[in-house]
């Protein structure tokens, strides 16, 4: 069978944009007639000879750290950028979704934007018209469909944008981590739709940081590292290897000063977060039922008398499972006003199933959170025999593991004891 996607030795280099390295107008005009000399020092190789095949119907996850080349690979396969060398072949209609709502214009009404966005994504007018009612119903914006989208709430806007994308019907689907935006409900809906697409026999290339989502959606996983394919195999194995490598030793420690999950308008206060098992203080993986420790370091330019930290633990689909802060639970007073320090949060008797749980961090004073970082770090929970039975609930029964007591009663008295005369 012909592969749906064949990537052969794809290489992409960028010229690093230093001011002196940037050609001026004269050089550029000369460049029209003469090939500019390549300067190896100024070059950055985002992809170095990446090759893999995807058979039709396969759902492949692409994982890797920031800067490993995931986005570049996606852009090459979506034909947005051209590879420097190598080639890629895609058989079938390609729908690429690197962003929701590409081409949305705030002045246009919902209806107009559906048609515009649909045609930007490659749908024909007839296709959009056919799916129009379904799109509007999926987004739940029937009443506002003839209102300019600038009057929409951001939730409505994102829902409508995703609804259009969800009704795209390509043979090959290339999806970036669009799921990391929007509210939890929306992210859930996205993943639900993704699963539907994956089961529908379409070829999907799914780029994500979220190992659990990759494991649950994908059959295969490609791990990119420094622009090359580091591992390629069954999703579960690759994702586990990736998790082990990402966690490393000394707990899962993440620098927060330039974290992409920091929300707009946040004051950079949190500098670092470490998530580990409280029992030994070093292992990044917390056993089920154990105590997780989340340490957040902060630094401010003015002293803070009442450092407040909120931690939200989310599931693989970025839906919150629970959240806690040191306003609602007792917290011993801090040692005076601080410009720098660490807030340590312990989460005892962790009622979570094995898996990776992204954490949102909210930092501030008693009155408001001025620094918010979404998906700041992952909490990794590993299996433990919490019930003493050697067995665990099935993995598809949700993220929470909760004990229960049981009793079985008969509907009537057992036979043979009620014999009358």
């Amino acid at each position: 069978m012909h592969p749906a996607i064949r990537v052969q030795n794809v290489t992409k280099s960028f010229r690093l944009g230093t001011n002196s390295g940037r050609p001026n107008l004269t050089e550029r005009l000369l460049g029209l007639v003469r090939k500019p000399r390549a300067n190896p020092d100024n070059e950055f190789w985002a992809l170095k000879g990446v090759s893999f095949d995807v058979t039709p119907g396969e759902v492949v996850g692409v994982v890797g750290r920031n800067g490993a080349g995931k986005s570049t690979l996606l852009k090459v396969l979506s034909r947005i950028v051209e590879p420097t060398a190598g080639r890629a072949e895609l058989r079938g209609r390609v729908g690429s979704l690197l962003e929701v709502g590409t081409g949305f214009h705030p002045e246009l009404t919902g209806r107009e934007n559906v048609f515009l966005n649909g045609s930007v994504l490659g749908m024909s007018r007839r296709e959009i018209a056919k799916n129009f009612d379904a799109i509007v119903a999926f987004a739940g914006v029937e009443r506002f469909i003839d209102t300019p989208v600038k009057r929409y709430s951001s939730g409505m806007y994102v829902r409508l944008a995703f609804a259009v994308a969800a009704h795209l019907n390509p043979e090959i689907m290339i999806v970036d981590e669009v799921l990391a935006v929007g509210d939890a409900e929306f992210q859930n809906k996205c993943l639900g739709k993704m699963r539907e697409v994956a089961r529908g026999g379409r070829t999907v290339l799914f780029v994500s940081h979220n190992m659990t989502a990759v494991q649950s959606l994908c059959s295969r996983c490609v791990w990119l590292k420094d622009g090359t394919v580091h591992a390629d195999g069954p999703a579960r194995e690759v994702a586990e290897a990736y998790n082990r490598a990402a966690a490393g030793g000394g707990g899962a420690e993440v620098r927060l000063d330039a974290h992409p999950g920091r929300t707009l308008g946040s004051v950079r206060a949190m500098t670092r977060v470490r998530v580990c098992d409280d029992a030994d203080g070093t292992s990044p993986a917390v056993p089920m039922g154990g105590t997780a420790r989340v340490e957040v370091e902060f630094e401010l330019d003015r002293p803070l008398a009442d450092a407040t930290l909120g931690v939200v633990v989310k599931d693989a689909y970025y839906s919150p499972i629970f959240g806690i802060n040191n306003k609602v639970t007792p917290c011993p007073p801090q040692p005076g006003p601080l410009t720098a320090g660490t807030v340590v949060c312990r989460l005892p008797r962790l009622p979570l199933m094995p898996g990776v749980y992204p954490l949102d961090l909210y930092f501030g004073d008693r009155l408001n959170d001025f620094d918010t970082v979404h998906n700041a770090a992952d909490l990794t929970v590993v299996a433990a025999d919490v019930f003493g039975t050697g067995r665990l609930p099935p993995p598809n029964a949700g993220p929470v593991c909760w004990p229960a007591t049981w009793e079985i009663r008969a509907a009537r008295a057992p036979e043979g004891t009620t014999d009358g005369p």
Binding site: F14, L25, R28, K75, V76, L77, S78, R79, I80, V81, E82, P83, T84, A85, G86, R87, A88, E89, L90, S96, L98, E99, T102, G103, H105, E107, L108, E112, F115, L116, S119, V120, L121, G122, S124, R125, P148
Partner: protein, 268 residues
């Protein structure tokens, strides 16, 4: 099939045709957005040529005395201005279109040429309105069209081709080098004054000027637009040379655009 593509090539017209609906929706977007939340609405399409007509008729025509040999000088200026407004505006919006649609360029694939070409839609929309008003004004001044009116769509086509071609070229240049943005702003202004057919009757030009000026595509096409709309004798030489120059510029613009479009997402 995705691989590095070298050198010069013609645009893939078949692919462009497949994306005609996108072209339509982008043009529709630009038209709607342009007149959204304005009181005058589409009236603005007429404001620019009318205002320029007033200034030219007053200062060049009356004060400067240029218009004394031209019957109905305001109508003469307005007719040319309709064509020029379309030409100048289309170049301006097309040139800036790729940069202002950066989000589209970096997030999704489609033939990039669709972006600058779609901007011609707004211009054409305005052109039709302004031409309708031209018909009204001509009737008011008692000028009746002749068979040459049939030439008007052809002139409009040549104007579109020339303007879109230059706009396409500039849009590609601006992606890489924002310097051209500034060139654009005053370039279009200077160009207007370098197009004497807008405010001078052909008789006022010297023999040499009449020979060479049509190399400025705006010159011959503006003249041809007015001549065909107002039933004057058509200067076929100027029209032919200007149309050919415009077509050549359009061809070069598209070739250059095609050559550099693959790096748009990297350099924008």
């Amino acid at each position: 099939m995705i691989e590095p593509r070298p050198g010069w090539a013609l645009p893939d017209f078949r692919e462009l045709w497949r994306y005609r609906e996108l072209l339509y929706f982008l043009a529709l977007r630009d038209i709607k957005v342009r007149y959204a939340q304005t009181v005058l609405g589409v009236g603005w399409a007429l404001a620019q040529p009318l205002a320029t007509m007033a200034v030219f008729a007053l200062f060049l025509g009356r004060v400067g005395g240029v218009g004394k040999d031209v019957p109905n000088y305001p109508l003469f200026v307005y007719a040319g201005m309709v064509a020029w407004t379309f030409f100048g505006n289309t170049i301006g919006t097309a040139a800036l279109s790729v940069v202002s649609n950066e989000r589209l360029v970096t997030k999704i694939y489609f033939p990039r040429l669709v972006i600058p070409l779609a901007t011609a839609g707004v211009g054409l929309f305005d052109l039709v309105l302004a031409t309708a008003l031209l018909g009204g004004l001509a009737a008011w001044w008692g000028v009746l069209p002749s068979w040459s009116l049939l030439l008007l769509p052809l002139v409009a086509l040549a104007l579109t081709l020339a303007a879109a071609g230059i706009g396409v070229l500039l849009s590609a240049l601006i992606v890489a080098q924002r310097d051209f943005k500034y060139v654009l702003t005053f370039g279009v202004q200077l160009w207007m004054f370098a197009t004497p057919s807008l405010y001078l009757p052909p008789e006022a030009l010297s023999e040499t000027a009449r020979l060479w000026l049509p190399l400025n595509p705006a010159h011959g096409l503006v003249a041809a637009f007015r001549q065909s709309a107002l039933g004057e004798a058509v200067d076929w030489y100027a029209f032919g040379v200007s149309a050919a120059t415009g077509a050549a510029l359009a061809l070069f613009g598209m070739l250059y655009f095609r050559r550099v479009e693959r790096t748009f997402a990297d350099t924008i």
